[in-house]
Amino acid sequence: MPEGIGPSLPTPALVLGADRPGDAGEALQRRLPDPLLLAVAVVVALILAAPALLPADPLAQDLFARNAPPGPPAWLGRDNLGRDVLARLLAGGRITLAIAAGAALLSLLFGAGLGLAALAAGPWASGPVFAVFDLVRAMPSILLALSLLVALGAGVGPVVVALGVSFAPTMAQLARAAWQRERQAGYVEAAVASGGTTWTVLRRHILPNVAGVLVTQLAIVLPRCVTSESVLSFLGLGVPPEVPTWGRMIAAALPFVERAPHAMAAPAAALGLLTLILALAGDRVRRHLDPLRRPA
């Protein structure tokens, strides 16, 4: 969360509740038993708890058991270098989730944070800033991430930056739309007329109104970050080769797919499942927070 939103708005439900006391409890109640969000929680918890549950080393090679089929002690088999597929799957999931979460948050900070700050500062700042965002948006995101990664080099940090920058323009656009809408609202005019500074208006009136839209966009961007990270590391552009990620596992297993399909099936299924439940959960969040779907 950017400092601007601050501790007074800790969760999406409470953001909603800030102006509609009745909705927060209702939204929470409707959302808590949701099997979809439960599935997200279970998968995330499994991936995070992996090292404790499964002590196998994701990097240890057993060259006598190359491409070994599933069976004890390697329950999902071994890859082309005899590494435990399950251990790599869980270790890779942690990295993928961390990168995706980091990139989604960065796109929020960079897009909405910089966008709102520039809008608050005035046209001399917002003009050039949004021109840059438009330029970034004009470029296909994979080419943008590719150029940035070529420039920044391999590593977790560069991938987070590359993905964060690619997804920032949409955030900036949403923030600007909310800003323009709210600026014209009577209560904002009243706040300005009664001597509120730009900063106060931004913090007290604009941010609470834009937060719902941004949280929704965050939920939509998260699964895309998971996919993009996997595609980039599949193409050899993401994290360094020694770090296990699902994309790297798939790339390593692809040449041996006829002999050892399990080594590719496991990360492919994991990736498909994670993006699917994240996308469906994101859609659920969107429907809950969409102002158009809520009774006015």
Binding site: D134, A138, I142, V150, E258, P261
Partner: protein, 308 residues
């Protein structure tokens, strides 16, 4: 008058992208000569000599001017690794990528228009649900994952298609994805059109269903297609790159990724710039085609929607 604005804006965007890509690629730590030096056991002096020969020791602004001047005449420089003209390599690879992208785009657009028109004419049938399902499919299931599933199921498990070098799976996957992106906004637009008074008038004066669809409903698709063109084409570029590497197809994507591994700047920047320019030009053409198809726009009406 209305045409000058978009053309100028897209030109500026193109110029800015070319410059940014050029600069980004220049900031790579280490260069192609480092790679060659390690592989070929070159001495420091030999490496410095190669750098001077290729102009890699000049300031970036000089390098950019020289590159841009040559690029405008179709000379994209030499590949640092293969010592061949970059333009030759790209011309050799381009037909494969164009075939993949062209077939996928045609399949996607034809499928989307057919489904959307059908769903608008028969709102009670199963087509509206199919449009919706296809949309959810393209949002929630990435083409990369579908490609992996296709390899595992169609090629390895069932043995129907070879793992490498076939076009059928990638074209179907990208085509369905594109259809899913276009069909829903298209259906929403055509649904409104089909319910509007002028269609009722056309029916009342006895026009055949065929004439109504072709003459009155279908032309409204152009606006939606133009509005989503940028988004769809941007996604198609990424999809085609991934599919080429995944299905072992020759093409610009495969060349780009070999070039990245080999730090072959001229090739990397040429491929990125060509893809970016292709999307910009296609976007502009879609915009112009839209203006041509809808004369209201030329007389200063509202522009095409910004996508969504």
């Amino acid at each position: 008058m209305r045409l000058a604005g978009p053309i100028l804006r897209q030109l500026l965007t193109a110029l800015a992208i070319v410059l940014v890509v050029f600069l980004l690629v220049r900031t790579i730590p280490g260069d192609a000569i480092d790679v060659l030096g390690i592989e070929g056991d070159l001495t420091e002096e030999e490496m410095a000599g190669r750098r001077a020969e290729l102009g890699l020791d000049r300031p970036w602004i000089v390098q950019f001017r020289l590159w841009a001047e040559a690029a405008l005449t179709g000379d994209l420089g030499l590949s640092l690794r293969f010592n061949r003209p970059v333009s030759d390599m790209l011309l050799y690879a381009a037909p494969s990528t164009l075939t993949l992208a062209g077939l996928s785009l045609s399949l996607g657009v034809v499928l989307a228009v057919t489904l959307a028109v059908g769903a608008a004419i028969w709102p009670g049938g199963f087509l509206p649900a199919l449009v919706q399902a296809l949309n959810v499919w393209s949002i929630a299931v990435p083409t990369f994952v579908v490609g992996l599933a296709a390899i595992l199921v169609l090629s390895v498990w069932l043995g129907w298609l070879p793992v490498r070098g076939q076009l059928l799976s990638p074209v179907l996957i990208l085509g369905l994805d594109i259809a899913g992106q276009i069909a829903k906004p298209l259906h929403e637009e055509l649904k409104e059109v089909a319910a509007s008074p002028f269609i009722r008038t056309a029916r009342a004066k006895g026009l055949s269903r065929r004439a109504i669809v072709l003459g009155h409903v279908l032309p409204n698709a152009a606006g939606v297609l133009a509005a989503v063109a940028g988004l769809v084409l941007g996604g198609l570029v990424g999809g085609a790159l991934t599919m080429e590497v995944l299905f072992g197809l020759p093409g610009l994507g495969s060349i780009a990724f070999q070039a990245i591994a080999g730090r072959d700047y001229p090739v990397v920047q040429a491929v990125i710039i060509i893809f970016a320019l292709a999307v910009i030009v296609a976007n502009l053409l879609a915009d112009l085609a839209h203006t041509w198809a809808d004369p209201r726009l030329a007389s200063g009406g509202a522009g095409p929607g910004g996508g969504g």
